[in-house]
Every structure is written in structure tokens, then in C-alpha cells.
Chain length 297, copies 2
């Protein structure tokens, strides 16, 4: 599919994609560049690349596809560094969880003749790093592409085919709309999970010990979510702050509404909300975004 692929950054997502490329023979040569030698050593040990280098400009030279898999906060610096070294006709894509940032931070540094196709494979675990990756990560999930108007159709098709090979359904939408949808489905839930676990973390030691012990309820799910990579998530919140602050405002209103109902002993309001929320769950199961077997906590 590609003669030469360069990964800039190589964590859970990048290494999972590389595993697929190797499994299915989608790339003639895979080069990986990362910020630390330790990461590169791991990549070599796992045999996930044909070449590794700390020098991003060397990694991207002659590459047909450059896949940026760093945290969002590194996008500007990476683009500025690699831009002048890209081959004419190369495709630059990424896997970040916010998409308006690509037009803002990457596109301005790209030479003419380079195609930018921003992508977001909506999949993940709370584990990070190249060892956490696995080829089945993307199976049955959605990948959202947000190319600007005027990007070559052929480049979009190639990125689309790549993610389909990974087992994903591929959808197009505007970067702005993507950032709104993800603020609700991903960024807010993640922030809430971090916050509630931190609220527990700051309790007295005795109580904290018991919180851990009796965490079989919903709290356990929150702690799993809240174990995700801090740098990745910090960057998401900084980059998608507008959409997130908007939805956070709505959530706060709704939570205050619930709190008021609890304080007043208004069981009807509580019951009404709790009944309504079941419908969304049903929709998700119908949309096959979750398996029935996952339901047992």
C-alpha cells in the first residue's frame, strides 16, 4: 500500500497500526522516530520497524506516508521540523483526538505538493507506549477523517483504505464538528473520571484505603479510565478547550439539577432522568459499539 512509512511518535496507537502494517504487508519500509532512545530500543526489541532514529528529518525522508502519533502538544514543533524534508506527493496524517489543531499547527508548515489528511481512529485503552499496542485494537471501531476542502481525493482514499484494513469504519466530517462530538463522547467523560478519582485520592488515608477495597461499583470503571496517559490528555484539554468548556457548562447545570433533586428528596425527577438514560445505552448496543458480554461489571 505504501513503499515507505514514517511514524513520528510511537505509542499505543502508532505501534498498533505498525503491527497491522507488518501483519498485512502494507508498508515496504517502516521507519520510527521518537523522543527518547529508550522508546527506540523498545521498538527495535519488538521488531516493529525497519529503521529507528532520534532524527525526525531522517525518518521522514523519502516517506510516502508520515503518520504523526505524538501528543497534540508536539504537533507544531514536529511539523516545523519535518516540513522542509518531505517528499513531493507525500501524505501526512495523524491519529490525534482533537482535529482543528491540524489546520492550525501542521498545515502551515507543509510545502506545496504534500497532502494532509487528519485522522482519528476512535479506539484505545488506558495503557500507553509501544508495548501496549496490539493489532486488534481498531477492529469494529470508527475512524474519523477531517481533510480540509481541496485535499486530493487520492490521498484521502489511501488513508481511508489503511484504516479499513485495520478493521475500522471510516467516516468524514469537519474538524470543528469532530471536536464537538468528541468533547462529549470522550473528553468530558475522561475529565470527569480523572476528577472523581482525584476527589477520592484526596480523602483521608483511612477512607482512601476503603475506597480502594470497596471499589467494585462504578468507581472501578472510573479508575481504569483515569489511568490513561497524562500528557496525551493534558494536550487534548488544552487544544479542544472551547468545545469542552461548552459541554462542561451543560454538564454542570445538569449535575446541579440532580443535586437539587437529591437535597429536596424529589424522587420523581431522579427516576425520570435515570429512566431516560437507559435509551442511550440501548442505542449504543444497537449501534454495535459495545458487546452485550461487556455489560457485566
Amino acid at each position: 500500500m505504501f513503499d515507505r512509512v514514517a511514524f513520528v511518535g510511537f505509542g499505543l496507537i502508532g505501534s498498533s497500526l505498525a503491527r497491522i502494517m507488518i501483519r498485512d504487508g502494507l508498508a515496504g519500509h517502516i521507519s520510527v522516530t521518537a523522543r527518547t532512545q529508550a522508546t527506540l530500543d523498545t521498538v527495535t526489541r519488538l521488531e516493529l520497524a525497519d529503521s529507528v532514529t532520534l532524527d525526525a528529518t531522517e525518518a521522514v525522508r523519502d516517506a510516502d506516508l508520515i503518520m504523526i502519533c505524538t501528543p497534540l502538544g508536539a504537533y507544531g514543533a514536529v511539523a516545523k521540523e519535518i516540513g522542509p524534508h518531505l517528499k513531493d506527493g507525500a501524505i501526512v496524517s495523524d491519529v490525534g483526538s482533537a482535529k482543528q489543531i491540524v489546520s492550525r499547527e501542521i498545515v502551515p508548515h507543509m510545502p506545496d505538493g504534500v497532502h494532509v489528511v487528519p485522522g482519528h481512529p476512535v479506539a484505545g485503552t488506558e495503557n500507553s507506549g509501544p508495548e501496549a499496542g496490539f493489532a486488534e485494537l481498531f477492529m469494529g471501531r470508527n475512524c474519523i477523517l477531517t481533510p480540509d476542502d481541496g485535499v486530493a481525493e487520492q490521498a484521502i482514499e489511501k488513508i481511508s483504505a489503511l484504516w479499513k484494513a485495520a478493521g475500522m469504519s471510516v467516516e468524514m466530517m469537519s474538524a470543528h464538528h469532530h471536536d464537538q462530538v468528541l468533547a462529549i463522547t470522550s473528553h468530558l467523560p475522561q475529565l470527569i473520571a480523572y476528577t472523581i478519582v482525584d476527589t477520592a485520592e484526596q480523602l483521608g488515608e483511612d477512607l482512601k484505603h476503603e475506597v480502594i477495597k470497596y471499589s467494585a461499583g462504578g468507581f472501578r470503571d472510573f479508575t481504569r479510565i483515569a489511568a490513561s496517559d497524562p500528557t496525551m490528555w493534558r494536550d487534548i484539554y488544552l487544544e479542544n478547550s472551547d468545545a469542552l468548556l461548552d459541554i462542561l457548562g451543560r454538564f454542570n447545570e445538569d449535575l446541579t439539577h440532580m443535586r437539587r433533586a437529591i437535597r429536596r428528596g424529589d424522587g420523581d425527577t431522579l427516576h425520570e432522568v435515570f429512566t431516560r438514560t437507559r435509551a442511550i445505552r440501548r442505542g449504543i448496543i444497537d449501534a454495535k459499539q459495545d458487546k452485550l458480554e461487556d455489560q457485566k461489571t
Copy 2:
């Protein structure tokens, strides 16, 4: 273990416990009473009881153990109804998620010679009803007993042995302390999950459709939690409102702190919190309250 057991209410927890009693031969006779004939028909079809009746007083007659498995809101009425019909020496226990309510709503209606041992098996799924139960539900989880001072040691021992037979570790604590711990580990996470899913539910139809479609992130976990039984949870919030409102206040402060950091672009604060929360997850895995295999979302 018991000659005659009566279940008052028979949902996920009650029916799971009955399955264990049948599997291990822990009860000579199981009688079930429930609010509707439809539930009793299901119980009969599933062969989970030796007798079923809509008349609670009939179900509890001559029972050695009366297990109250109704939503918390029914406790007072149930206790008042069955109290005069209990055998001398009978043990009354329950499985509710709030425990101070037992002294308030059940104990006053109990005749002398009846032993009240409140219990809370900390386990569950978001499914409800007798068909949702299964014998392995309690395996490896904790059960908290909160008997008042002066309750016969022998009665506590029998309830303890029952939950141990179900595969649980049994712990004692005061009802007040239980309600504090569970407000954090269970009641608040559940409320947050309900609220965030409802926030999404109230979005415009277009956006809602996409929220369902791209729910692979944290949101999916929240919808699973938010599909739980509305009546059960309404009653928990009404009954444990003091502890919940206290922890909700703390959570609100912490969320405002995060929101402020996002609005100001304060990445250091975000990163610090996101790093701290990983420690709690580690504690939970160490405490074996979750399996590593569960970690993949």
C-alpha cells in the same frame, strides 16, 4: 444452613443468592414473595423457589432467614407488614446499598427475639430482575455487614457464612461508615454517569446520533453504568443523601478547579492531577478488585 429461607423482593441480587443456595443446598425450602405476579411467574419458570406468593406474610411464616431484596424505598412498609409474622429467633437481613436505613426503617418493626443483620454484597451489574442473576456474581467481592451493637453473634455468623459460601470476603463496619464509603465508591460515580449520559441525551438529534456512533471512548462505560435500575438508584440517593451531598460538594470543587485550569491553559495543573490518579488505579489492581484483562476498553 437454613431450614426455610424467604426472599422479599427478588431481583439481580436476590435471585443470584437463591441460585447459590440451590446449587450448594443451603436452604431446605425457599419461598419468594414479590410485588407482581409477573415476577413470581418468572421465578417459577426459572425454578428458583419452592413456593411463591404475593402475600409477604405468608412467605415469611416459619422462615429462619428473611432476606429483604427490595429497593430501599420499600423497607419501611415491608418491615411493618412482615414484623408481626416472624418466627422467634428468625434472622432478618438485606442486601441494600445504604445501611443506616435499616436501623431507621426495619428495626423498629421487629419483634423481640428476631435478629437483624444488615448486609451489603458489593457486587452487581447494570441488569436487573430475576433473569439477570447468576451464581458467580459475588465471587471475589466484598460483603459488608453492619449489625448494631448487641445483635446475637450467632446470627451474624450465619449471615457471614452465607456470603462466604457465595465467594465473598466479609467485613464489619458501622452503618454510618458504610454509607460514607459507598457514597464515594458507588453512589457518586453512578450519579455522575447518569448525569453525563443525560447531558448527551438532551443534545440535538443529529449530535446525539453521532454521540452514540462514536462512543468507543469513556462515554461507553458511562452508558453501561447509567443503564442500571432507576428505582433502586432513586431510593439510594434519597436514603443516603447526607453522605452523597457531602462528597458531591467536594467533587464539584475539584471539577471547578479543573475547569479553571482548562480555561487558563494551565497544563501543569492538569498533568499533575492526571498523574496522581494513576496511583489509585494501581492500588485497586493490587487489591485484586479488578483484573488486568479488564483493562482493555
